[in-house]
């Protein structure tokens, strides 16, 4: 099953911190990932953050490139995951 991986929302009042710049992909298309494996590094004004894979599966394609600014809710990549869960 194709699964679009979104950038999780922070639930903040302030939209400014709900976005970051993709500094580095840490997983490549074709990689088999477990849940919580490192997916990408994102930087905000304050720190660098590691976004983890929300599900186990195979990374099919990146939807954002290094240097792109992404907002919470935006699709980061597409994975192929098992139907259950």
């Amino acid at each position: 099953m194709r699964f679009e991986v979104p950038l999780p929302a922070l639930g903040d009042e302030d939209d400014a911190v709900q976005r970051g710049t993709v500094s580095q992909w840490l997983a490549q298309p074709g990689d088999r990932l477990s849940e919580n494996d490192d997916l990408m590094e994102l930087t905000t004004d304050k720190a660098a953050f590691i976004v983890a894979s929300p599900r186990a599966g195979k990374l099919l394609e990146w939807c954002v490139a290094e240097g792109d600014t992404v907002a919470a809710g935006e699709t980061l990549c597409i994975m192929n995951v098992a139907d259950a869960g």
């Binding site: 950038l7 999780p8 922070l10 639930g11 903040d12 009042e13 302030d14 400014a16 911190v17 500094s23 580095q24 992909w25 590094e41 994102l42 930087t43 905000t44 004004d45 304050k46 720190a47 660098a48 953050f49 590691i50 976004v51 983890a52 929300p54 290094e66 240097g67």
Partner: protein, 300 residues
């Protein structure tokens, strides 16, 4: 794939918040109309703390009457205190099952008592609803008014914190003019005297603002002399480009050396590290044995 050099050193890296517990905490706080410093300060520990189902509540609104150069909390003219807030905090503590909580506030120069009676009401509401929960208050300077500081202490918080924030020389550059290094020490000294040992007196300051090692030692000495027994030191991180830039990223080993120095100087509790915040894992101050284990765990 291009590999750009990172803007941050390798140790300034956290997990992006996600997960069910994180979402639950967010929904609950929004439901009860509560503010947290986790959000207002754009805290990088936000994901970890909420996933552990802890949060630092920021009472008396989300608008501060002072404007410090390191702080991302909005400043301006605040709204009157929400009389329902103490009950909402108690409700959140009960629903989250918190064993320990930190209550802090914006500075309220517009209120006659600086918001001290509201602080006390919040502490009392939690004590009535959740008597087992321990409480730390992290207060503004209340203009050094001993009577007002006494109002907060009379509510019986286990920990009374007021942050010195930075070394003496950098105070005028980083803090709102109405704060001063001497005034903050005075608040701590008065709190220690009034409390008479019933509350732990705690303070925290930032590193990476341009302070020298000797100034860190001097600040620790001043805090100790004022009666502070627990101290936290953490890396300053610029919340948005509107705040003061970071002067230096202090290496984890240097923080560890400062922590050791604080213990050698006589503090009962000291924790220093890049992501240490005054409220981060603050329950450790009440359990020195647990603190040792958590410090080891924090050495990532």
């Amino acid at each position: 794939m291009s590999k750009r050099p990172g803007k941050f050193p390798a140790w300034i890296r956290r997990a992006w918040p996600s997960g069910e517990a994180f979402r639950e905490v967010g929904a609950l706080l929004s439901d009860l109309n509560l503010h947290t410093v986790c959000q207002s300060a754009h805290c990088p520990n936000h994901g970890e703390c909420w996933s552990r189902r802890t949060a630092t509540f920021m009472i008396l609104g989300a608008v501060c009457t002072r404007n410090c150069r390191f702080c991302a909390v909005n400043h301006g003219v605040p709204c009157p205190p929400d009389s329902g807030e103490p009950a909402h905090i108690a409700e959140a503590v009960s629903r989250l099952g918190l064993r320990h909580l930190v209550i802090t506030s914006v500075t309220r120069d517009d209120l006659p008592d600086g918001g001290a009676s509201h602080f006390a009401a919040c502490v009392q509401a939690v004590k009535v609803r959740c008597p087992e929960t321990t409480i730390e208050v992290l207060t503004p300077d209340f203009e050094g008014d001993a009577r007002v500081i006494g109002t907060v202490l009379a509510a019986g918080p286990e920990v009374f914190s007021h942050n010195i924030e930075t070394v003496a020389r950098l105070h005028p550059m980083l803090r709102d003019r109405r704060y001063s290094y001497a005034r903050s020490l005075e608040v701590l000294r008065k709190a220690a005297a009034i409390s008479g040992g019933r509350s732990i007196i705690k303070s925290a300051f930032m590193a990476g603002c341009g302070e020298a090692e000797s100034e860190v030692r001097d600040t620790l000495g001043d805090l100790l002399a004022a009666g502070v027994t627990a101290v936290c030191i953490g890396q300053y991180l610029q919340p948005t480009p509107a705040q003061a830039p970071v002067a230096a990223y202090v290496a984890p080993a240097v923080f560890k050396a400062w922590e050791q120095m604080a213990y050698e100087m006589g503090f009962s509790f000291a924790v220093a590290g890049p992501f240490v915040r005054s409220s981060y894992r603050s329950e450790a101050v009440l359990a020195p044995a647990a603190a040792c284990a958590q410090r080891r765990e924090g050495e990532e």
